[in-house]
């Protein structure tokens, strides 16, 4: 059942025009910035020295771009199922709410992993110039992925609260700011392994809250009109 739910979510995400435009926009901005910075590095000479700072700046740029897009993508993907129709679908499949939640989390995770993997050619170019080791590239991708997944869980949790959509947006971007600042603060104080561990703990906490909340909220149609417009 999970496979069918994930496939359904992935199809909805992949076939949504606005999401496609936004993802193409992200790719365009990221690749343009990468090419421009690479050209600057070649022009400046001393490749191995400049490549090190280039890798760091591209990693930050990627995390910032994806972090900025993530709340919009998650809320938009949630909006593809409006409240009443999702409940009718749930009733029509006899699936438990956590099946749908897990399907949504996994499909968004796959989507973010694909977007992150698009930076691999640039990262490997950095590797060629000796600016970053494979381990550094892996840590960078893993941390960004965990950051995005923590954000995903938080935004889903907020959207499930049934607040007005504007409140969901504001809270989601506030969460982005807090998580982002926390990540920056941690990066200057502790090592990658500790940051990863903290993100994993956050994922477990938010995931448990989400599944508990979803188990209660996604059983019946939510009867307040404002919540019919959203998926939970």
């Amino acid at each position: 059942m999970m496979g069918a739910l994930i496939a359904r979510d992935m199809r909805l995400i992949a076939r949504d025009r606005r999401l496609r435009v936004v993802i193409l926009g992200y790719l365009f901005v990221f690749l343009t910035a990468s090419v421009l910075q690479c050209l600057g590095m070649f022009a400046a000479g001393n490749l191995s020295l400049n490549a090190g700072s280039l890798f760091a700046s591209l990693a930050v740029l990627q995390a910032a771009l994806l972090g900025g897009l993530a709340p919009w993508m998650i809320l938009h993907a949630s909006g593809l199922d409006c409240g009443v129709s999702l409940m009718r679908l749930i009733a029509g499949t006899s699936a438990a709410p956590w099946h749908f939640l897990l399907g949504r989390i996994v499909s968004l995770g796959i989507c973010f992993a694909e977007l992150l993997s698009l930076s691999l050619p640039v990262s490997l170019l950095m590797r060629l110039f000796g600016a970053a080791s494979f381990l550094q590239i892996a840590w960078s991708l893993a941390d960004t992925f965990l950051f995005l997944m923590a954000l995903t869980l938080f935004v889903l949790l907020v959207s499930m609260h049934g607040a007005h959509w504007a409140v969901s947006w504001i809270l989601s971007y506030l969460a982005l700011a807090v998580l982002g600042l926390g990540w920056v603060a941690m990066a200057s104080a502790i090592d990658h392994a500790s940051i990863t561990l903290i993100f994993l703990l956050l994922l477990v906490l938010l995931g448990s809250l989400l599944l508990l909340r979803g188990g209660r909220k996604l059983v019946y149609i939510n009867e307040t009109a404002r919540q019919d417009a959203r998926w939970a």
Binding site: M1, G3, A4, L5, A7, R8, R11, L12, R15, D16, L80, D81, C82, V84, S85, M87, R88, A91, G92, T93, S94, A95, A96, V219, Y220, I221, E223
Partner: protein
């Protein structure tokens, strides 16, 4: 079998359903008639475990629908009055998704859903968003019958259907009855209720005014409904011209 006792539903301090008692036996088709806003859709949504009643109990095939909604959902097929299918999915993808979720291997496993019947006219690779309302209604029927449910809940099931599709739906209802299934059907088309149902209940302002057997009725259901409503609301509740039109075979809207 469906068993409802003392069922009430409040919404925003307004009573939508009030103290409903109803039993529908296996192998029976029960019709719900009433004016718009009488609570038929809410009653069906409670039976489909989509809404929680404020008071009372609902049992479907001996299972408490309020305590075990997921167990009940595996036994029911529901055709809602409006369907918000995902427009981006194709008919095939949507049905495959439902089959997987319902653990149905293929349409051949389900005698209630012959591919050359229900899916006639549906282009399997067309996006659902491109289908007409009638074809979407056929898809809703296919989705409801895909797992051969024991209980079928139908909310305005004949809306937008062409005569051939409507005939297939009528056959499906009769097939459900013959294999011991239970059907509850709400419709504004009292002629459909009269032809297809064994019993009909009249809902008005959330109250079940009367339940009667259809067989042997000397009046048509619309006339009975008109007279019941006249008793409730006074004889001038509906313009005499409209009453004449109803008696001539029109639809109560």
């Amino acid at each position: 079998m469906i068993s409802i006792h003392g069922l009430s539903k409040m919404h925003d301090k307004t009573s939508v359903l009030s103290d409903i008692d109803l039993t529908v036996a296996r192998g029976k088709v029960f019709g719900l008639a009433g004016t718009n806003g009488s609570g038929r859709t809410t009653l069906l949504e409670i039976l489909a475990t989509l809404r929680k009643p404020t008071a009372g109990s609902v049992e479907i095939d001996g299972i408490n629908a309020i305590q075990s909604p997921f167990e009940v959902r595996s036994r029911i097929g529901y055709v809602p009055d409006r369907h918000d299918f995902h427009a981006a999915l194709t008919v095939r993808e949507f049905l495959d998704f439902l089959r997987t979720c319902r653990n149905v291997k293929s349409s051949a496993d389900n005698t209630a859903l012959p591919a050359d019947g229900w899916l006639h006219g549906l282009k399997m690779d067309a996006p659902i968003g491109s289908l007409s309302r009638g074809l979407k209604q056929q898809l809703a029927w296919a989705a409801a019958l895909i797992h051969a449910p024991a209980v079928l809940l139908l909310d305005e099931p004949m809306n937008d259907l062409d005569p051939f599709a409507a005939a297939r739906c009528a056959d499906a209802i009769k097939e459900m009855r013959s294999r011991g299934g239970t059907v509850v059907m709400a419709s504004n088309r009292t002629a459909d209720l009269q032809v297809l149902c064994d019993e009909v209940g009249f809902l008005h302002k959330g109250r079940l005014l009367q339940v009667m057997k259809v067989e042997g009725l000397s009046m048509n259901l619309l006339e009975i409904l008109t007279s019941l409503l006249a008793q409730q609301e006074g004889s001038d509740w509906i313009a005499s011209e409209a009453q004449d039109e109803i008696r001539a075979g029109g639809t109560l809207t």
